[in-house]
Amino acid sequence: MVFRALGLAFFGLSALPPAFAESNLERSSAALLDALAERQMPDAMLWVIDRARVDDSLSADFRATLPFRRAEALIGLSRTEGDAARRAALLDDAARSLDAFLEGHPSGDQAIAAYTQKGNLLIQRGLGAIEQSRRPGQDATQLGNAAIGFFERAVACLKGSVTPDQKQIAAVTTAEDAVIKELRGIDEQIAAIKPPASGKAPAEGKAAEGKAKSAKPPPRLSIAQQKELDRLEELQQKYRGQLLSTRILVGAALYEKSKAFPAGSKESAATLAESTEIFKTIAEKYAATAATAAAYSRFYWGRNLAAAGMHEQAAEVLAPLLAIDGRSPVAVALRAKAVNTSLECWLATAAAAKDPATARRILERLDDGLRGFVLTPAERLPGRRLDAEWLALKFRAATALDELAGRLAPPERNARLVLQRDARKLAIEVAVANRDFSKEARDLAARLGKDLPADAGADRSVAAIVADARVAFTAFQEKQAVVKQLQASGRVAEAEAAATSAAADRDAAIAAVERAVAAGAEADSPADVAAVNSARVMLAYLMYEARRYEEAAAIGGLLMEQHPNAVGSRQAARVALASLQQLAAQAPPGTAQTARATLAACAESMVRLWPAEAEGADAWSVLLNAAIEAHDAAGIVSRIDAFPKDSPRRPEFILRAATALRREAQEARRSAAESKPDDAVIKGWNAAARAALDDGLAALPAAAPPAGQSARVVLSAALARGQMALEDGDRETVTRILEHPVYGPWAAVERGDPAVLQGPLAETTLTVALRHFIETEQLDKAQRAMEALEKAAGTGDESSAKLSAMYLAMGRDLQAQLESLGTGSQADTPEVRDRARRILEGFEKFLEGVSKRDPKTSSQIWVATTYFTLGSGTGTGAVVPKPKAEQYLDQSAAAFGRLLARQDDPQAAAAERADIASFEPSIRLKIAGIHRARGRWDEAQEQMDWLLADSRRQNSLDVQLQAADLLEAAGKAAAAAGDSSRADTLLREAAAGRTAPPIVAWGWSGIATRLSRQAFAGVDDKAAKAREMFFDARLHVADTLLARARLGGSGPDREKRLDAAKTAIAMTRKLYPDLGGDAFQHRFEKLLKAIQREQGAAAPGGFAQLDAESASPASP
């Protein structure tokens, strides 16, 4: 509102007139600046001005006007600047520009424009200072003084110093003087053309008659002279108008200045009186010649009197304005102002009246005519809405009518009801607008609602019922806001009490809105349909708040499908979507499935109706989530394709979708052969994910990194793209992605973005970055990544294990990459070998450095496990030569050995030694594995015996499995080496177990026995896993028996062991006929056939032969 003070300058002066001949460009630029000012595009004005300042083709005269234009643009910018300090800075800058313009001593219209603009600007600065002084914590006195200073400067800039008898105006320094100078010039020109009127009054009688006949008529003007005269008179009127405008502005500045002084002070009264005198003079002097200006001045005169507390006099001054009959926006606005201030005066004088009859007479000035005016509905007002003026007016009128009703005698019941009805109507209007006076109006409406009988002739139109409902709805919303504030401030008990109260208001609002919806069920006029739809929107929201999700979804869905363009339908559709999401998440399985289907249908409708709008984007998100949850990669691809290209939310959407799609592609690649999609399909998903990631990342705004939830989406997407590039060996892209200033995950780490400091995203980011930096031998960065990884693991009890798990995961990724290189179609090409070599070299160098300089347990474990993964990959043969792999394994064993030795190192910290102690079992298990892989059986067994010597570790299934496997492998190796005796012992122990206190190994048979109960106890994943291990153990039992049979050459022992092996299979099959499924059946039968072959069958029959043998009678 306060910005409107500058409007005058924009009206009269923004079209800065040229004082020189203009080029096409200058004429066009000036007109463009005028148009941009009118369109309120000050930013574009500044573009034009900035270019014009450096454009040599523009004349110096034109460029001299630019500071004025710039000031105008800066003032325009200040209008939308929310920050008070920045707004003040813009206005100060504008003032400097105006001063620069005035330094060139402009004349005529340019001078008038500049001084007026500056005066207006200073008024604005003063108003800003006053506004600031009202804020808590501000120095009100200092700011008040500053405001007074601004207003004084404004008056000095506007108010003329030229007296009527002063002939010459040497230097123009104010707006008024500039206008007067122009006006005098025009007056002189008119006088030069127009003949002077005769100075003498005609004499009376016949002589005078004769004289009149003989007097010369004024000389006739030529057409050119008449044209010039017309033009000059037009200008004269313009400047007269400007003179009055300037004086009104001076009066306004003085009025504002009076308010800046302490209330009731002498200075305030004196300044207000000065302002009042200006308005009074204009109102009285120009009532006939400049009626509109005089009418406005009359209003300001009355308003000033009201401000001085002279309410009776003010009401008298304003009285003529109350009868303004015009319907033009200007007339309606002026009448509204006058009625508003009059109501203020009447209410004050009525309240001060000594007897009720006087008070009643005063309030009765709000007569039928004025009552009709104040009851004008908002849609019939010029702006089609209630502005602050009208809200104040309607509320004051409601108050006045209510007070008048209270003063009527009991027999005047009907008249009182009419007054109360109108008062309530006005109060509801103000309450529904939910801006100024809303709370007071709501209270008044509520009180009048109780006072009025149901049949009091109240307006029961659909719109009125909906308005009533809105009052209840707004009351609930306000309560809800209070609850949130209390919760946020931690006032739990008060918040709970407020929540209970809010729930009651909500239920009352639901009842009121339901009545409104029912009342409008048959509505057919557009206004009623709109009203009832707005009630439906409220109802959907209230139902959601009441957790009546089905009803909320139904109402929102109805609005969306049947009234998609109604105001609030989009909001209601969002409520429906949210309700269905709640139902899908919370309802029992059957209902949830229906809710999911309805949710999908609702989302589909929303994307159809509002494809590129925010509501559509929400719905797309729901559809994408459904596809992701269903692991529907093809569905994700189709969502990416279908999402509107011009939606501002596309980048985030496709990034999320593409990240999920890549995950699906990875899962598919790892899935079992029977359920694995074609490679071409997976490749297609990867290609789609890659393209979408590239598009999405490229479309991100270049200004600043994303924040909040979208930062997580963007960083995850960038990480996914980086991983893809890493897999492709595209190091440049990895670097570009990881270190991109906007979305780069590593850049986010470097700037301390909380999204990548801890949690899964941080862990993946850092392991990927670490791998990349190692591969590209950026060892400093690799070191920083390692340190960040350690921080990400935290400091709690689990941190070491977590860190090890992260290193292990990274090692596995590295191994998978090497396997992929080693098994791909290009596996044996020099390019692939070279790539693998570079990867390995990078890792070797880094691991070596870490192992030497970083003795921390976690670092050493990482070194050891990474060497282990490099050396033990099963598919890396093509890219990691066997000698190299063995070397890695040995380096791994050495690293693990060094770690164990640190336990006894007196120089190691106690905490470190404790740390290593906690890892010792897993380290020894790893060392055992390495020795087994390297065929160093005794060393492996030594580690295993250490593990099996402890009763707690004996119960570890992993340890027992590895122990049985080691014994079997060692036995078979001894057999291959020709050491049958040792082989027999080891194989027997592998099957039956080994007991040499304190060492206890269960062997395959013991493992199977211990697994049997769990394996057949249920159908869950755990049982399935146990079943798998059970049958595997049973296979090993039979296999070791076969191996032992083969040791003995021929003879009874051999036959006995072959029979035992066969019986082991037969018994297993008898007890568990399906043998754990097709895969195991195949393995069992294959082993059985091997046994049968050893038993002499040239063409072993497998299970069929076994069945036939068991069916035939026993041999005599």
């Binding site: 096409n24 007109a31 405008s245 306004a252 509109t292 406005y296 100024d436 007071e440 011009d646």
Partner: protein, 361 residues
């Protein structure tokens, strides 16, 4: 909330009101024929003779002959308001609006009107139909027939060359450059500025076919020929040829040269206001072709949108560019406003059709 007064709200309104209160009443015009010239002046009197090349008026100062190349518009005394407005719309090349305006003319009034007025209605109707066909790309053959019929029926009309040019445009739009060139050739028999126009329009044909170097030579030749013609008509011809040349430069990836060429036009003080829309559009197009000059391009197209928006085709072109540029510099609300202005003001314009499909609401 405390009561408070609203002190300065009305100040601006006062300014408006005061100014309005002092507006003088407009004087009534006598019903004379009026010939408006390209230099902005006007001759009033009675038209006594008209031909494709000139017209003669009896004014209070005697007889006066005016070459057709200097004439912007001819208004007949006593002509229906609808005809005057429709003709103005034709001058702005808004055929659809002109046809709608013609519908407002009372048939009885027209029946009783002079033959010149009835002929002028025929011209405006044919020209508006042709312009509408050109703007929408539909009914080109119908437009062509009306234009050809007018030319055949009114061989001595002051509008003969204008209609001949429209006929060429319609043929060109139908992919018939040879016939179009033949139609333009008829302009060669007119006064010098009209004859130069023939050369310019034929260069336009070459431009349309993508023969930019040849077109450029054509424009340069036309500009040279026009340089010798005196008065506003000559200057206008030079400017049109210069503008064509600038377009060729843009198409030949010499956008910076095009900017320089257009800037030279703008540095003068002689351009016809109606042609400035086209000039700023070419400037905007050149700046769009230069990387990093989006703001300059925006200023150029804003100048057309907010200042030189008289000619419908120019305005539509500017609005289209503004939609794209505002989106490019991330002002979606301004882009939406420009789109709305284009779609509602010029629903049939090819520029509107080039926009992406409107979003559902």
């Amino acid at each position: 909330m405390p009561f408070h007064a609203i002190p300065l709200l009305a100040v601006a309104i006062v300014g408006v009101a005061v100014a309005t209160a002092f507006q003088p009443a407009a004087a009534e015009e006598p019903a004379q024929d009026r010939v408006r010239l390209l230099d902005g002046s006007e001759i009033r009197g009675e038209i006594t003779d008209m031909s494709p090349n000139s017209l003669t008026l009896e004014t209070k100062d005697g007889s006066s002959s005016v070459s057709i190349e200097a004439v912007r518009e001819v208004r007949f005394g006593g002509e229906p308001d609808g005809l005057r407005d429709a003709r103005t719309l034709v001058l702005r090349r808004d055929g659809t609006a002109a046809l709608a305006e013609l519908e407002t003319i009372d048939a009885d009034e027209l029946r009783e009107a002079d033959a010149e007025i009835r002929d002028d209605v025929s011209f405006v109707k044919a020209a508006a139909t042709a312009l509408q066909a050109l703007a929408t790309g539909t009914d080109l053959a119908r437009g062509q027939k009306l234009a050809a019929d007018f030319v055949a029926a009114h061989p001595r009309s002051v509008h003969l060359y204008a209609m001949q040019e429209l006929l060429g445009d319609l043929l060109a739009a139908q992919g018939r450059p040879v016939d179009a060139a033949r139609a333009y050739d008829a302009l060669a028999g007119g006064p010098p500025a009209v004859a130069v126009r023939a050369a310019t329009r034929k260069a336009d044909l070459q431009f349309r076919e993508g023969r930019f170097a040849e077109a450029q030579r054509g424009y340069e030749a036309a500009a040279k020929a026009a340089a010798g013609i005196k008065g506003k008509a000559g200057l206008r011809s030079v400017r049109q040829a210069d503008l064509g040349r600038a377009r060729c430069l843009i198409s030949q990836e010499r956008a910076a040269d095009a900017v320089a060429a257009v800037s030279a036009i703008l540095a003068g003080d002689d351009a016809d206001a109606a042609t400035l829309g086209g000039v700023f559009n070419v400037l905007g197009a050149a700046q769009r072709a230069l990387p990093g000059h989006e703001q300059d391009a925006l200023i150029a197209f804003l100048t057309v949108d907010l200042v030189h928006n008289e000619v419908a085709e120019d305005h539509a072109e500017a609005l289209f560019n503004l939609v794209e540029l505002w989106e490019q510099v991330n002002f979606p609300e301004r882009a939406r406003e420009a789109r709305q202005a284009l779609e509602t003001t010029y629903p049939q314009s090819p520029w509107t059709k080039r926009l992406r499909p409107a979003k559902a609401s």
